[in-house]
Chain length 153, copies 12
């Protein structure tokens, strides 16, 4: 299950396909395609293998998570609205041996009260929140270091 | 993106395919097919183009909403049980430039306490609640007037 | 108690006399006089008899509701601030054999948290919320259809 | 301020003018006129002077309470819906030197949750709840005994 | 199961054996023996058969209630502290065909917050609260009238 | 709408007509007449025109507020019990262009929990609380300074 | 719609495909395939026809429930994480004429607080919770008896 | 402490002596004697030794539980109203080395809100809820299997 | 009622008879018999008369407390699970002229949330919590000093 | 401890050193130095001795309050963020024989929900809130009158 | 790190320097100096080394706790108002290998509701509450016994 | 106020001086000195100027934040226990023109409930949580990118 360089799965949840047009005051103007390209460039520079996917379907995300352990070393997830509502997603992450990093572009602590509760945060390794596109980049940086720590120690 | 007559999308959420047999004391005895026919007749009479669809899948509804702005002028949605549980649906509506009208056949304020909380109500233009089949009809009437206001002013 | 055309009572609650000047960003710039005229025109066009009144006094509204069954077939009410605070108003509506339609111009679900609780919503036939002047118009449309349904069946 | 026989004020709050027709499953079929007659008969039999009034107006009830100490020895009040919403009524009772007995015909503890909270109960001498017309009769009986206790001791 | 005069069971719950010495500022100085005598005198005057008992044991009170229907027509209960804590007592009263009248000497609405919740109030016919010894007397008066109503109608 | 000296409206809400006799441990022994005289003397000394009125009627207070903008520059209000219960009063103040100063003689933060919630405080310019008669005097002082600031700047 | 032997539908919700590897301290080490085999053996022994399916998709589960009445007599469901979040699932069960038995392998009452709330429990016939694989077996036993009771009576 | 066949203790809590007459719409018409006979027949058929007892006394139930480990292998308990109120009962079960199965005839999740909280559920092995008499039967079935599992493994 | 040396009553509540075997990780391995012996030795050393009793019955504890004032100077109580559920026990302690010291062996603040609420703590003189057997010893020490203070001053 | 003119201590709490630059939309543009000068001018005009200090340290503020009674007659405090979080500050004010006036420049009732709770408000003599710099001035006016009242009476 | 006799650190938190003058009805009339002397006498009698300090500064208390493990065997702390507000203090105690005993002179369970929540209680070994000066003495007694237990075992 | 390379202030809050010995299961075994060295190495590699400080004193942290804008471009803060309790800290960050990044080594969402509420999160630019030492490193990486974005755009 180990590999020569870290294999990272990035899961974009519901509505993230609409980045760039969706509430740009909150989410910025970069599209998901552009964001994914930028992450791929970083991954190449940092010698990481990156798989990116987006889905509006909770079921598809659960299936992806179920199949991930044999293919990836670390997972990053921006669960979108499922963050606050999906126990099934929480259960899927709990059931996975992979370390997960939760990513949010907006500062969910500064928005509506219901966004302050997360079913996901307690079951991931860590979270990066509020930094827009930078949130993804530093999460990728963290994924790299988590993998390094495991392979050095 | 404008048109000669209002193009309206009507989204029926989970379980609405079972209208007519589902708890008739609450939802009445008219089937979804009959309801849709009646709405089409009204739309024809009022010179509106109506597209009707039903889905039990949150993901499919999100996809429909994402694709709607290029095809419709106004949207009506009866989110069914998603009303009370789906932040993803709320986010999709927020991300849309279309005006949405929320429709409920039953008086959700008079039922179980959990139905009194709606993730959807704060992000739609308005709501019509509790009037059975009439809820849809007057929402259609409202859609017509919203469109008229925008094209007159 | 029946009649040849629907007789509708419209009750405007506290502060609605100030429409047009009161927080126009929320309530628009049309005055109550102009709104009432517009509703009368609609009523004439739809062959309905409309009685309109406004009061800042809860007691006067209770008295109106008590006297309504012998004079009207349907009632529409915009309870204003009483929506969230008056059990007496709720009791009055419960005690009435008339169907009531609750009307709000602003989207109360999108405002302060205390506006999300309504003593009135659970005891009316239905509600139309958030569509400004259109809220009244489609409520009138609903009143017409409620009356039709009762006289056809 | 004393007298040869107890002078009792009975205040019926909002909507009690509709007794007999109002939700008879909850409030019974006796009208307010009939109830008042029955209470007057009891009062005569028990040598008490009874003044009865009903109002839908909180302000009028506050005025009545303010003027009561010079004319009455004991007060009985069925505050109706104000029970659960009026701090002003609570303040008026607190400000009065008269003993108040709160009366409810229906068992408010067995109805909607909001009826379980009372602004009035903590500031009256005592309460009689749930016994329909009997609630008033035994409250009258209690008024008699409160007066007796004060004039014997 | 009927009888020529009303047979009434009075149940005094935990700690009521200490009346007279227990917090006299709240409960007065009359002992339980004296209170019971006074109630017996009233019962004789009003042609009622009265059975009085006190117990600190929830189990004994449940047993009494289970055996009551064949021996009594009406029951009065001052559940003491069990008012706020015993679902078993509530269930026992629910399971009984007898009408129950709940009695409290102190005004429980004006004391600690936890006394404002009652498991018992929603399942009794009615309650008399806050009038000290008079609470019992007027409850007895109510018991008489409940019985009269049933035998007249 | 401007004037040579500040014109101030002082609104005393429900039960304030009973000042002096009402719970003197909380509200002091000065009557409303004496308080009003004292405020008039201050106003004269500070070159302010003062209009004082008291009402137990929410409707009358709403009417007064609706009519105030053409006659006054600043308003002071002691809403009494309406502070904690009236959304209609809040709406009326919101709808007014005048600056309002809320006044309470007692320290409402140190009394019953329900007095800690205020519908009014969030919509006034400021509040003076807990200083008895001095509360009114320093509110008057504040009204003077608000007016000065507006006419100097 | 009746049959010679009970036809039972067993619905396994999200993440149950991962039984055996998923948090074995909580869910045990038996895989879903093995569990299904064991249930089929029991069903054969008890003369029952068993249909088993698992899905991570809420929509697919709703569709299954909608189609069930014509094919099955009783349904068993382990809703997984949907237990705590899906009003749509609750609505689907409410809309069904079949008796449902809710099954949980883990003792959800002894886990995180959010698992103590269930949208499903109030609308099923009954629940079996906390007994691991035995939960399913005794639910099957219950399904048999429910069917027997209906065909004997 | 082991035995050749499972020895099971069945504890019926408060008010269960009244089965058959107690709220038959909720609890059915079978008496406790008949229920116990039926359970004994099952136990005989399944080669189990069954001890059945009922008590309205919390203390007696605590004593029974304390003495159980030397005499029984598994315990079944229907705690009645104590389910929602007794920390002492919870402590007693926690302190016992026996596996407990909680049984409820009615669906407590579908009744009053206070029945949704259970002190007992988190400390038992599992629960069977809502199936009337069948609840007991399948709990017995579960007890058999728990014992089998322990003696096979 | 005074005496030459302090007479102390120690009440052990429900389940404390099981000390030593009951959850030893929480309550330690010393039995109640051994604990009582140790307390008697301390009492002898400190010249105190000690009466020790344990009961699983709330009613018996209430009776003991009712009878205590004539026989003891100070009372110590470990109410076990009744701490969190018994208003009747609270009332009994309130009604007693004796000073009570509440004792808990485990640190109830560090356990389940429901153990953080105590009906007893607000009505005792003081509490000693979390120190295992030492909790009893220092409570005995405190009882000695309370008695000394009263007899010196 | 008395004096010829009122000696007033003004305590500015955490972050008030940043007035003028800190969120000017909320706190205005006047610096603390300028504010203090203005207050000194008022104090001179009104014949009051004013001591002003600011600290970000809760401990320093507690020390100041402890030392105040021998040096001052009245204290004014703007506790800044400590308003909502410091029980120690509340205790210090409670422990002081001086009257305290709480001052807030912003209308804390109109800001984040957590600012609506104050540990300080219930233990001060009174509060002036929301009037910017005027809040301090009228509090000074109030301090003068409190002192006058004490020295006249 | 061990020693021949127990070395105990006593930390008095904010406002305890004002003992004797601070709310004597709650905290008594003994000054901190006198209390400390008394504790030193006890410590000498019981062969313990006692270090006593008081601070109004949370930071100073955190520093003291950080430095304690090398100098003391047991710590006693009366955190004053920090009990209810300081997570930093809780963290400091958690981070320390020393056993802590929490001390309160007043019965915090019988005071304002906010005093019922403690950040400290769940992380100390045990607590002594409500016994005034005796609270400290018996805590010292407990410290002695904790040390003895560790050096005997 | 600009500079050639990003100047970053890192604030370590209360108890972080104890890293390495403090609850290593939660916070790891690296000391603060070692952590700071590692961060300095990274900063050098990434061409950043780093200032590191730790304080247990809220006041000192407030002072540091007040002085920061003239010396730094970005701030990183691990507020420790103040995260959950300090409105003053929140106010200081709000008042600062610098972007702040909140850092937590442990996953606060997976610990005690009170750690789920943060006064700080809503007012920072973003947060990095749960990744131990990596949290600081990726926050530094984010600081670099925030500065780059500002100097590129």
């Amino acid at each position: 299950m180990s590999s020569l360089r870290p294999r990272v799965l990035v899961l974009h949840g519901p509505n993230l396909d609409r980045l760039g047009t969706r509430e740009p005051a909150i989410y910025g103007t970069m599209t998901l395609v552009a964001l994914n390209e930028r992450l791929q460039q970083r991954a190449t520079a940092w010698n990481m293998a990156l798989t990116l996917c987006q889905s509006n379907s909770e079921a598809e995300i659960l299936d992806r998570i179920a199949g991930a352990p044999s293919k990836y070393d670390v997972a990053m997830i921006n669960p979108g609205g499922l963050t606050h509502t999906s126990v099934a997603l929480r259960d899927a992450i709990c059931a996975s041996p992979l370390p997960f990093i939760e990513v949010h572009m907006s500062n969910i602590a500064a928005r509506e009260p219901f966004r302050r509760h997360s079913y996901i945060a307690p079951v991931v390794a860590g979270s990066v929140v509020g930094l827009g596109v930078i949130s993804y980049e530093v999460a990728l940086c963290a994924a790299r270091q988590i993998w390094d720590n495991r392979h050095v120690a």
